[in-house]
C-alpha cells in the first residue's frame, strides 16, 4: 500500500518495475500471486508480466481472450472443464469444454507454450494436430479424464512435437484404433522423460517402444498398458534403469525359470523407484520379483491388481517408506491390518471396490479395516474409502487416531445406510470428523444422514473447500446451513438430496465466491433457477435438460461464477438462464 500512497503524493515508486518483476518471478504459488496482484496497480502489472503458469479451474469462468490479454507470458496452462460428476455419467456427451478455442487463442498469444494439462476437457484429434504443429517448443501434454480424441491424435503429437518431454494420457475415454502412434516418434527423438499410456487398450508396436525407451536416456516415468507382457517389460526395464516411476503391464504371462530370474534381476536394479503401478492380472507367483524394488517406494498403486490379504501383506512388508497406497477391497480387512502394521509413514489410502454393484456384504472392507489402518498410520490425512458398512463409533475412533485429515471421502455404497450396529444415522460420524479434523479441506459424505450432519459441518468445518453430498439430508435446512457456515467452501456437488429452491436461493450471495455448484436429482425447479439467474447476473446458471421433459423441473443444475458471461457454445440440452 506504500506504493499507492507514494504515487498519490507524486513521488517515484520505491524501486523500479524491473526489480519488482524480478522479485515477483520467484513467487510460484497461485494464491500468493493472486494476493500480490491485489496490492496495487503496479503490483498487478508486475505480477501479470511475470506469471508463467496459469491454472483455470473452470474453463467457462473466463474466456481465452481475457486470459491472453491479462497474462502475456504464459508457458504452462492447466485447465479443468466438465463438472466432476461427469466422471459418473451424469453429464451427457457433447456438453462442451472443448479445448480448441483456447488453442486458437494461445497459438497467437503464446507461441512458445510449453505445457498443457487438461482435466475433463474435450480434445479432438484436430486439436492435437494443431497443438503439435503450432507450438514448436511444446514440451508436456497431460490429459486426465478427457474425451474426444483417438490414438490418431496421439500420432500427431508423437510425430511433430520435437521437444516433447512428457506425454501423460490418463483415464481418458478415447477411441483406441491402434498402437501405431508410438511408431511416430522420429528416430532422432530423445527428449522424452515421462511416458504414460497405461489406460490405452490397443497393442503398441513393441519394437518401436523398446527403441524409444533405449534412446531416451532421461526417461524417468514409464507406465505401459496391459498389453505389454512380463517378458517385454523385462526388456524395457533393463534398457531404463534410471526409471523412478514404473507402471507395469500385465503380470500374467507364464515365465520359465530363466525368464523369471531375468525379471527379478531387472527389478533388483531399481533402488530409486518411488512409484509403482499397473500389475494387471497379477498372481502371487510373480509378486516377489517386485520386492527388491520396493525399498524406497512412496506410492504403490494396486488399484488394478486383484490381491488377497496375504499377498498384500507380503508386498507391504517390503515397503517401509510407503506414503500413498491405492488398493482394491479384495484385500479385505485383514489386508488393511497389514497396512496398519507395515506402513507407519502412510499419509494417503484409497480403497476401491472390486465389485461395487453387488449387494453382498461379505465382500470388501468394513469399519475394522479402516480402524486398523488408523491405529498404525498416525500420519494418515487423505482417505478415499468404499465400504458396505460403517459405524459412528468407528469413525469417531478413527479421527481420534488420525486428527490431521485434510481429505475424508467415505463412500458407504448402499445409499441411506445407517450405522449397521445402532441403526442410527451416520450424523455423529461426520460430526466427529469435522469436530476433530480442523484442517479438513475436502469431505464426501454418505450413509443415512439427516440435516444434523450439515449442522455439524456448518459449525465446525471452517476450512472446508470441497463438499460432495449424495442421498443425504432431510430438508432445505441442511444445505442452507452449509452455505451459511463454511466460509471457504469453493465446490459443492450434490445429487439425490431433498434440497429445493429455498436452499438454492439461500446461497445466492455465496456462489460468487465459489467455483461452482452442482445439484442433480434434487427438488429444484426452472423458476427457482431463473430467479437465481436474475438476481445474480455474474453467475452462469445452467440447466441440463436431456429430452423434452417437464418444463418446470430442473433435473441437473450447474451454477458457476464467470467473468466471461454465458457460454456461447452451449449445446441444445444446456439451458443458460
Amino acid at each position: 500500500m506504500d506504493c499507492k500512497r507514494n504515487r498519490d503524493m507524486k513521488s517515484p515508486p520505491p524501486f523500479p518495475d524491473e526489480v519488482l518483476e524480478r522479485i515477483l518471478s520467484f513467487i510460484t504459488s497461485r494464491k500468493d500471486r493472486s494476493a500480490v496482484s491485489l496490492v496495487s496497480k503496479d503490483w498487478y502489472n508486475a505480477e501479470r508480466w511475470t506469471r508463467t503458469s496459469i491454472f483455470i479451474g473452470n474453463c467457462y469462468s473466463v474466456s481465452p481472450q481475457i486470459v491472453i490479454r491479462r497474462f502475456p507470458k504464459i508457458k504452462s496452462v492447466t485447465i479443468k472443464g466438465k463438472p466432476r460428476f461427469s466422471d459418473f455419467n451424469l453429464v451427457p456427451p457433447n456438453w462442451g469444454a472443448d479445448i480448441q478455442a483456447w488453442l486458437f487463442a494461445f497459438a497467437s498469444a503464446y507461441p512458445f507454450l510449453e505445457e498443457l494439462r487438461l482435466k475433463r476437457m474435450t480434445v479432438s484429434d484436430e486439436s492435437l494436430e494443431f497443438l503439435s504443429l503450432k507450438f514448436s517448443n511444446f514440451k508436456a501434454l497431460s490429459l486426465l479424464s478427457c474425451d474426444g480424441f483417438s490414438t490418431d491424435g496421439l500420432a500427431f503429437i508423437a510425430s511433430n512435437s520435437k521437444n516433447l518431454i512428457e506425454l501423460d494420457i490418463q483415464e481418458n475415454a478415447i477411441d483406441d484404433f491402434s498402437g501405431n502412434w508410438l511408431c511416430c516418434f522420429p528416430e532422432n527423438f530423445t527428449s522424452l522423460e515421462i511416458l504414460n499410456f497405461a489406460n490405452l487398450n490397443s497393442d503398441v508396436n513393441f519394437d518401436a517402444l523398446e527403441r524409444l525407451v533405449s534412446r531416451c536416456r532421461s526417461l524417468r516415468v514409464l507406465k505401459v498398458n496391459k498389453n505389454i507382457q512380463l517378458g517385454q517389460l523385462q526388456r524395457l526395464l533393463v534398457k531404463a534403469p534410471q526409471l523412478t516411476e514404473i507402471g507395469t503391464g500385465s503380470f500374467l504371462q507364464e515365465l520359465n525359470l530363466q525368464q523369471y530370474a531375468e525379471l527379478a534381476c531387472a527389478f533388483n536394479h531399481f533402488k530409486n523407484l518411488h512409484t509403482l503401478s499397473g500389475l494387471w492380472e497379477v498372481t502371487s507367483v510373480y509378486l516377489p520379483v517386485l520386492y527388491p524394488a520396493c525399498t524406497n517406494l512412496t506410492f504403490l498403486n494396486l488399484s488394478t491388481a486383484v490381491l488377497q490379504s496375504d499377498e498384500l501383506a507380503k508386498v507391504l512388508g517390503h515397503c517401509p517408506r510407503l506414503q500413498r497406497l491405492w488398493v482394491l477391497d479384495t484385500v479385505g480387512d485383514a489386508g488393511l491390518q497389514s497396512v496398519g502394521s507395515s506402513c507407519p509413514l502412510l499419509e494417503e489410502l484409497r480403497v476401491f471396490p472390486a465389485d461395487p454393484y453387488s449387494q453382498d456384504i461379505f465382500h470388501g472392507v468394513t469399519e475394522s479395516g479402516f480402524l486398523a489402518v488408523s491405529r498404525g498410520c498416525r500420519r494418515l490425512h487423505y482417505v478415499l474409502y468404499f465400504c458396505r458398512q460403517m459405524t459412528n463409533a468407528a469413525v469417531a475412533t478413527i479421527v481420534q487416531n488420525c486428527p490431521d485429515f485434510t481429505h475424508f471421502r467415505l463412500c458407504i455404497m448402499n445409499p441411506h445406510q445407517p450405522d449397521y450396529l445402532t441403526d442410527k444415522p451416520m450424523d455423529e460420524a461426520f460430526g466427529a470428523i469435522v469436530k476433530t479434523c480442523t484442517k479438513l479441506q475436502r469431505l464426501a459424505v454418505s450413509g443415512l444422514l439427516t440435516d444434523m450432519t450439515f449442522e455439524y459441518i456448518a459449525k465446525y468445518a471452517k476450512n472446508l473447500e470441497t463438499l460432495s453430498v449424495a442421498f443425504a439430508g432431510s430438508s432445505d435446512w441442511g444445505m442452507q446451513c452449509v452455505l451459511d457456515g463454511c466460509p471457504k467452501l469453493r465446490k459443492l456437488e450434490i445429487r439425490d438430496c431433498p434440497f429445493g429452491n429455498a436452499a438454492l436461493l439461500s446461497g445466492m450471495e455465496r456462489y460468487e465466491s465459489m467455483r461452482s455448484l452442482w445439484m442433480s436429482a434434487c427438488n429444484l425447479t426452472m423458476n427457482g433457477c431463473r430467479l437465481l439467474a436474475q438476481e445474480m447476473p455474474r453467475l452462469n446458471v445452467e440447466v441440463i435438460k436431456e429430452d423434452e421433459s417437464e418444463d418446470c423441473v430442473a433435473e441437473k443444475v450447474y451454477v458457476y461464477r464467470s467473468v466471461a458471461g454465458p457460454r456461447s457454445d452451449a449445446p441444445s440440452f444446456v439451458l443458460t438462464l
Binding site: 475415454a173 487398450n201 461395487p356 441411506h416
Partner: protein, 253 residues
C-alpha cells in the same frame, strides 16, 4: 428378493389417472415433483433409479408409488427395499434411526446411475477383472482384442432399430441410456408417427432385441447392464400374435 418386472410401455393399470397427470408449475419453495412413468417428460426416467424424499413420486420400471403426507403409500409392486429394513417410515423418524422408504430395482448391475461414484474407466477395469477370460455365457473370450464387445472402448453404441410394419429402420445410440425406461421413451418418440395410439403403446407393442448369440428376446427381463453387453439389434413388434412366435413367456405385473 429379485423380481421379474414386466416392462409395460404404459402406465400401471391400477392408476390410470397418473398417466395424464399434468405437471405442477409455478414457483413454490417446496415444489413437488410429480413424475409419472408415462409422460415422456418424466424427471425420474433419466435415471434407472430416481431417489426422492417421501414427498415425491418414485418411479420404478413402469410403476408409480406415491407417498403423500398423511397417505399410506399405494404399491402394487413389491419392490426390493434396501437392506431388508422395515420400509414404511416417515421422514421425521429418520432421526430415530429408521430409514426412509427408498425403492430400488436391482442393485446388481442395474442400479443407480453413477453410483457408487466410480469413474467409467475403473468400471471397465472392474468388468474385465471379474470376467478375465470368460463371458457370462461361459465361452472363452479374449477381451484384449475386444471384438466381442465393440462398445467397450468407445463412446457410442449404435444399434439398428426396426419397427414391425415400418419400412425404414433407424439407429439408436444405446450408450446414451441407462435404463429401459429412457430407452423406450426415446423409441416412442422416434417412431411416434407410426404408433397407432400413444396412450396404448404398452398394450400394442413389445420391444425385443437380438442378443449376440442370435436369439430374439424380450427387452427388460435381464438387468440393464447385461442387456447392454449382449444386445445387437432391436425390434418393436406388434402385440397381435407376433409375441407368441418368440416362444417366451411374457410377465406382466
Amino acid at each position: 428378493m429379485e423380481l421379474q418386472l414386466g416392462l409395460a410401455l404404459g402406465p400401471p393399470i391400477h392408476n390410470p389417472n397418473k398417466c395424464l397427470d399434468l405437471k405442477i408449475c409455478g414457483f413454490e419453495p417446496n415444489e413437488q415433483v410429480s413424475s409419472t412413468p408415462w409422460t415422456m417428460s418424466c424427471v425420474g426416467a433419466k435415471n434407472e433409479f430416481h431417489v426422492k424424499n417421501k414427498r415425491s413420486s418414485i418411479e420404478a420400471f413402469g410403476s408409480v408409488v406415491e407417498e403423500e403426507e398423511g397417505q399410506k403409500p399405494k404399491t402394487t409392486l413389491p419392490l426390493v427395499s434396501w437392506s431388508d429394513q422395515p420400509h414404511e417410515e416417515e421422514e421425521d423418524n429418520c432421526g430415530r434411526g429408521k430409514i426412509c422408504k427408498r425403492l430400488i430395482i436391482e442393485r446388481n448391475q442395474g442400479g443407480i446411475v453413477g453410483w457408487p461414484p466410480i469413474n467409467s474407466l475403473r468400471q471397465k477395469l472392474l468388468y474385465q477383472n471379474r470376467h478375465p477370460h470368460q463371458n457370462q455365457h461361459g465361452r472363452i473370450e479374449n477381451n484384449r482384442t475386444g471384438e466381442n464387445r465393440p462398445h467397450s472402448r468407445s463412446n457410442s453404441m449404435y444399434v439398428k432399430v426396426k419397427m414391425e410394419g415400418v419400412a425404414i429402420g433407424r439407429k439408436i445410440d444405446l450408450k446414451r441410456y441407462h435404463s429401459y425406461q429412457t430407452l423406450k421413451e426415446s423409441l416412442i418418440s422416434m417412431f411416434s408417427k407410426n404408433l397407432r395410439s400413444e396412450l396404448d403403446v404398452s398394450a400394442n407393442y413389445t420391444l425385443t432385441y437380438q442378443d449376440r448369440e442370435g436369439d430374439w428376446l424380450i427387452a427388460g427381463d435381464v438387468p440393464w447392464r447385461t442387456f447392454i453387453n449382449s444386445v445387437r439389434r432391436l425390434e418393436i413388434l406388434n402385440n397381435n400374435g407376433s409375441l407368441y412366435r418368440l416362444g417366451s413367456p411374457w410377465f406382466i405385473i
